[in-house]
């Protein structure tokens, strides 16, 4: 390859070679840290490997079969979907509301934006530990305040992380708390890209607040909105830490999700093969989500 004025091209000018060189570290990293364990876990899932094995034997789809027969696994599978969907539906509504509120100028806006971004910035484990204390069975700040405000009577003291339905609700709430910032920021970008002219035209055409919102604004930001929700869905779907920190999957495995169950089985329990099989059930859904995200990201132009 030569330059137009002759002479050999330096590597820095050769786009083909340059792109490969620049991508190499990232590809190496992904291959080593994600690819390698992924293929390893596929091998584990069709073997009888445990933490103390020196060698593994092929057992076919035995691990998958026994997983499907296990009621705990089935409950974990259901929970995984339920937590992800429920939390993201709530995020969908709240993020649009928040993004719309943040579009207007008001005093202290920078501060509100900071507060909204904080849950995202804090590490998941730390945030979850914070919530663990707030939802504690004896020292819950929430219960304490509501009791002091006389909203809770003397008989009312919800055990947020101990009663199965309350525990599920708590996990959904923390997932919402954690993924709302990202969705809000993405939606804010989407809302800002709608030209003011369109809103003016709708106002003159006679559309009120709700008609404009549902018939003009939301259809126009829908691709971006879906990308935001999809991100949140994947974060909630694959989450292990929130469940592990808050409930360890309890009470009675009622709040187990696939990721936490896999950890429980594989690391605590030593059954690497069974755990790998459980974890691999995440794969089809995530692959579909990734394809969807890439498609939507391509179409995510407002105009």
């Amino acid at each position: 390859m030569g330059t137009p004025w002759g002479g050999k091209t330096a590597v820095a000018d050769d786009e083909g070679a340059l792109s490969r060189i620049l991508l190499a570290p990232a590809l190496l990293y992904i291959g080593a840290v994600i690819g390698l364990p992924f293929f390893l876990s596929i091998w584990f899932s069709v073997s009888d490997v445990t933490v103390s094995s020196t060698v593994g034997h092929y057992v076919g789809l035995e691990n998958f079969r026994s997983a499907l027969e296990d009621p705990t696994f089935r409950r974990a599978l259901g929970n995984t979907f339920f937590f992800a969907f429920a939390s993201q539906i709530i995020v969908l509504v709240l993020s649009v509301v928040l993004a719309m509120a943040l579009q207007k100028e008001f005093r202290g806006k920078w501060f509100v934006r900071l507060l909204i971004l904080l849950p995202w910035v804090a590490p998941v484990s730390l945030g979850s530990i914070g919530w663990l204390w707030m939802l504690d069975s004896i020292y819950s700040v929430i219960n304490w305040m509501l009791r002091a405000a006389h909203i809770f009577g003397p008989q009312t003291w919800p055990i947020w992380l101990g009663q199965p339905n309350l525990a599920r609700a708590s996990i959904i709430a923390v997932q919402v708390w954690r993924t709302l910032p990202l969705a809000t920021v993405i939606n804010l970008g989407g809302l800002s890209s709608i030209p003011q002219d369109i809103h003016d035209a709708a106002a003159i055409d006679g559309a009120g607040f709700f008609r404009t919102l549902f018939q003009i604004t939301i259809p126009l930001v829908l691709p971006i909105l879906l990308v935001a929700v999809l991100f949140g869905f994947v974060f909630a779907f694959t989450d292990m830490i929130v469940v592990w920190v808050l409930t360890r999957g309890g009470p009675y495995d009622m709040t187990q999700v696939l990721a936490s169950l896999a950890f429980f089985k594989g690391i605590d329990g030593g059954d690497l093969a069974g755990a790998s099989a459980v974890a691999l059930f995440l794969f089809p859904v995530l692959a579909a989500a990734a394809i969807l995200m890439l498609r939507l990201a391509r179409r995510a132009e407002v105009m």
Binding site: D200, A201, A203, G206, L220
Partner: protein, 343 residues
């Protein structure tokens, strides 16, 4: 059909005043043009009339009612934006029907009214297309159809022709004028293009720095400008100015002819003009130069129609005549028009 009135409208922002005390009243069925350079406040004034912006002080009155506190949708107006502001996710039918749906017009009527509006602008075959599949001229028609479908009492247009290419602009202007004369809807039209203003308006309000400098029919604003701003803004090429004593004198490039060519009984003034450069534009010839004796330093333009036979050599001076009445005099300090006097 309604009369739009503004009384002492002021709109002040933190660092400047966009509209500074504007009093206007349209006539019934009139095409009123707000003409001025960018930043003169014409678009802000239009948006205040529409209700998209709130004025700092003053009243907007539509059809005899003070509408200051009414939202845009309660003012029975329609607006066409410079960018057309079509809803990108709806097709042409959806766009045109939207205002009818917003006003809860019964379903049976919507279809018929959309068809009528589409037929008015010749866009029936485009009904199923989305805005991104339309050309500039087609989008403009859809925007007009959407505005007309509600049969508003006032039509507001914000530079709707400026996004069209030059050729299309002329034919679009022609159609727009014919449409307004046919429908008789009171129309307020914002533009910075004085050719558009002259061609379309019943009256023109020439604006500068938030104020109306002159309001009148095109010929009046052109031939009897109220101050140097109006005189200089209208007319292409612009009016020539030079100082004479304590006044500024102005004359239009096309109103000066070679001496002897002027067939008129009115008193004429003769001047010598030295030509520096000639531009041959086909229908006209532009002579760049200066008045050799009266204002040799001031660069001026004479616009000779192609029908004028005068062989011109660059660097030579020629004698020209202009009607005494075509010389406009302005006060040097205020720029306001003063009565004519001998040169």
């Amino acid at each position: 059909m309604a009369i739009v009135e503004t009384r002492q409208i002021r709109k002040a922002f933190q660092d400047h005043t966009a509209v500074d005390g504007v009093d206007l009243a349209t006539r019934e069925g009139e095409f009123l043009v707000l003409l001025g350079p960018s930043g003169c406040g014409k678009t802000t004034l239009l948006r205040i009339i529409a209700g998209l912006e709130k004025q700092t002080s003053g009243d907007v009155i539509i059809g005899g009612k003070v509408v200051n506190d009414l939202a845009p949708r309660e003012r029975r107006i329609a607006m066409v934006f410079q960018s057309y502001a079509l809803y990108p996710h709806l097709n042409v039918v959806g766009n045109i029907a939207f205002p009818l749906k917003a006003h809860r017009v019964p379903k049976e009527q919507i279809g018929e009214r959309v068809q009528k509006a589409a037929a008015m602008f010749g866009i029936e075959r485009l009904l199923q297309r989305k805005p991104r599949q339309l050309s500039g001229g087609e989008r403009q028609r859809v925007a007009l159809a959407r505005a007309m479908v509600r049969e508003p009492s006032v039509f507001l247009l914000d530079e709707p022709l400026s996004n069209l290419d030059a050729k299309l602009r002329t034919s679009a202007r022609d159609e727009l004028q014919a449409l307004q004369r046919r429908m008789g809807t009171t129309t307020i039209y914002v533009t910075h293009d004085q050719v558009e203003a002259m061609g379309l308006g019943h009256r023109i309000a020439v604006m500068s720095r938030g104020q109306v400098r002159q309001l009148g029919p095109p010929q009046e604003v052109y031939n009897e400008p109220a101050d140097t701003f109006v005189a200089g803004f209208l007319g292409s090429p612009p009016m020539n100015f030079f100082e004479r004593g304590d006044a500024i004198v102005g004359f239009r490039p096309e109103q000066i002819l070679p001496k002897g060519s002027y067939a008129t009984d009115e008193p004429l003034v003769h001047v010598w003009f030295r030509v520096d450069r000639v531009e041959n534009l086909g229908a006209d010839r532009l002579l760049y130069g200066s008045l050799r004796d009266l204002a040799p330093e001031v660069r001026m333009i004479i616009d000779l129609s192609f029908t004028v036979h005068l062989p011109v050599v660059e660097g030579q001076a020629y004698e020209f005549s202009i009607k005494q009445s075509d010389l406009k005099f302005f006060d040097k300090k205020s720029g306001l028009r003063i009565p004519g006097r001998p040169l």
